[in-house]
Symmetry: C2
Subunit: 409 residues, 2 copies
Amino acid sequence: MKLHQVKSPNDIKDEMNKYFKNIKLENERVNIESALNRYLAVNVKGIVDIPDFDKSTVDGYAVKASDVYGASESIPAFLTYIGEVEMGKDTELILDYDQCVYVPTGGKLPEGCTAMVMIEHTEKIDEETIAVYKPLGEGENIIKIGEDMRKDEILLEKGRKIKSYDLGVLSAQGIWEIDVYKKPNVSIISTGDELVPPYEDIKEGQIRDINTYTIMGAIKELGGKVINTSIVKDNYQSLKEAVEKYGEISDIVIISGGSSVGVKDNTAKVLDNLGEPGVFVEGAAIKPGKPTIISYSDYTAFIGLPGHPLSSVIVFSVFGKELFNILLNKNHRDEVVVEAYCDQNIHSTPGRETYQAVKIEKRDGKNYFKPILGKSASISTIVKADGLLKMEIEEEGISKGDKRKIILI
Amino acid sequence: MKLHQVKSPNDIKDEMNKYFKNIKLENERVNIESALNRYLAVNVKGIVDIPDFDKSTVDGYAVKASDVYGASESIPAFLTYIGEVEMGKDTELILDYDQCVYVPTGGKLPEGCTAMVMIEHTEKIDEETIAVYKPLGEGENIIKIGEDMRKDEILLEKGRKIKSYDLGVLSAQGIWEIDVYKKPNVSIISTGDELVPPYEDIKEGQIRDINTYTIMGAIKELGGKVINTSIVKDNYQSLKEAVEKYGEISDIVIISGGSSVGVKDNTAKVLDNLGEPGVFVEGAAIKPGKPTIISYSDYTAFIGLPGHPLSSVIVFSVFGKELFNILLNKNHRDEVVVEAYCDQNIHSTPGRETYQAVKIEKRDGKNYFKPILGKSASISTIVKADGLLKMEIEEEGISKGDKRKIILI
């Protein structure tokens, strides 16, 4: 057995990147109706210019801007009406000086047109004559070829989480199917002789398995797919069998529990025996979450989380998020944070990056946060929280009035 | 046809609440593996106290705190070892003065115990004697019955969006199935003679249907289910048939397009003929998005969005969000906002609530935002944006250096 020192979260993330970047997810092709919140496995380039023809952004008349220069309510410009463009149709009309063509919003501009005058600023004098009461700049009320998107331009980058309006970019380009990363396959193992699934009755001294479900939710949010959950007894042999079985079919195996000394040792030993490099984190300078174990063998990532529900949720929000960032090659890794003022002194643990669940209150247009106190063995604590306050490894706490960023949860 | 005045977004939201609260979604029962991001249709109350027995939060010995008062490295307290509690098992051991019992993390405490000493602070002297080197406060390292959750306490409120750790609360309580609101059934109609779906070839003058997919994405994010999408020709009869057909089977019908004058009138007329109260918004004091139409008939909500892709996305982010807040009875309606400083003067349109897509940049630990300029007929604009700046109806613009809240998108 190797000996491990407690490592700082930043060092741990560096090592995670080193090992876990070897786990290559396959691509899968999905159509844009199922692409929301998936991660792009390729750069999406423009296939065509959008728009692919010069078009009007208003209902009105296509004109040469120079023809209506100086037009006003009192001295309109009179133009000869030569026809109209039908919506969704090509046009062979060519605009000469002092002529105009009716074009609806989104309609194709006739050749020779340099601006569109809105119908509100015109008057039909007779079948052949339109009066224009307003001057126009060149290019006014039109959108030119390629002004929205250009052919060959990178429109959406590899690793991007596909948002609702990205679907609009894809559909505009006529891209019906795209390559995204397959969702990482995740198995969740909860260890503990006292654990019972939520759909079974419990006996005195037993408790319901909590961590499987909180971690399952977090995995879905991060873009993973839970392919297996199981409760395993607290002994070396049971854990070994489960880890080997699920390690083989998963990209990620999460093991929660094992906060009691013997079980923690079992988890580390089992993971270390799966193959090189094995366990590279056994103890993290983070609070809660010191007994965190992280291991890599045979293209599978293993994270051993503490058993206490609140601790496991917080540890997973730090290292689980990093793991999915790496596997899905996410290019937008920002957490959503809000600024808020500390409403009462909060104690930290120097030497450990400390996370504290907080409640945010709005007063006088400012955000204030208060710690939600609760033992790490509780889970209801975090339900009442709006976010997590992160205190850096060297901090001793923060004082009332300090301004800090709160990670929203 | 009624005559409508352009209404302020706040007035519109008030009227939406008045009418749309009549749309009652049914409940459906889901198990906790499928409950993530659904909206609770009931208050979830505690069925049992959690924990339902006093338990240890460490590996160590159950003691009476008074027995180890003043214990230290040099003067340990010596206690008589009378047995151990097995994990997940009940215990009949009763602790008397000067006795101790081994209890693992999460194990049930024997009667008479008032604190747990961590094993690291003890030494086994012989089979019957344990030395304790550290004093303890009453209640230290134990979690009491009901300390996490109480029986009959409201743990999760009706209208809450179920988050990952809420699943932990449910599983802890042994609640395997819960009642959530059925997802609102939504039909999306895109109108336009020029529109072609993204999987079909286009001819000169035609464009791909964009709005169906951006709105589809937004609906999924808000908690809805898209049951139908269709492209409809720009005429009264086609629109009437589509609206009647899909209105009957949907809770919500979204109609996009109709930014050209004739089509807008068609949409309002068709919706108004569906029954009382019909159209109650025809024109919103919002930019982009003035031609917004909102209607209510026969327990169905109708929203007519402008045809320009960027406009329709922004309008839907305002009124579509409100609609889902009402239908799903959401009790957490905050948008995610970050504070940032304006990096260049931005113009607004007084008399209209103005939304501007912005890019956020971090410099020297502060956020700065710049407008992303783009015509409302473009969609790529918003892909480059991080958020939306909202300028109030009475504002004329904002100046460089002003601090504002940006709604993240």
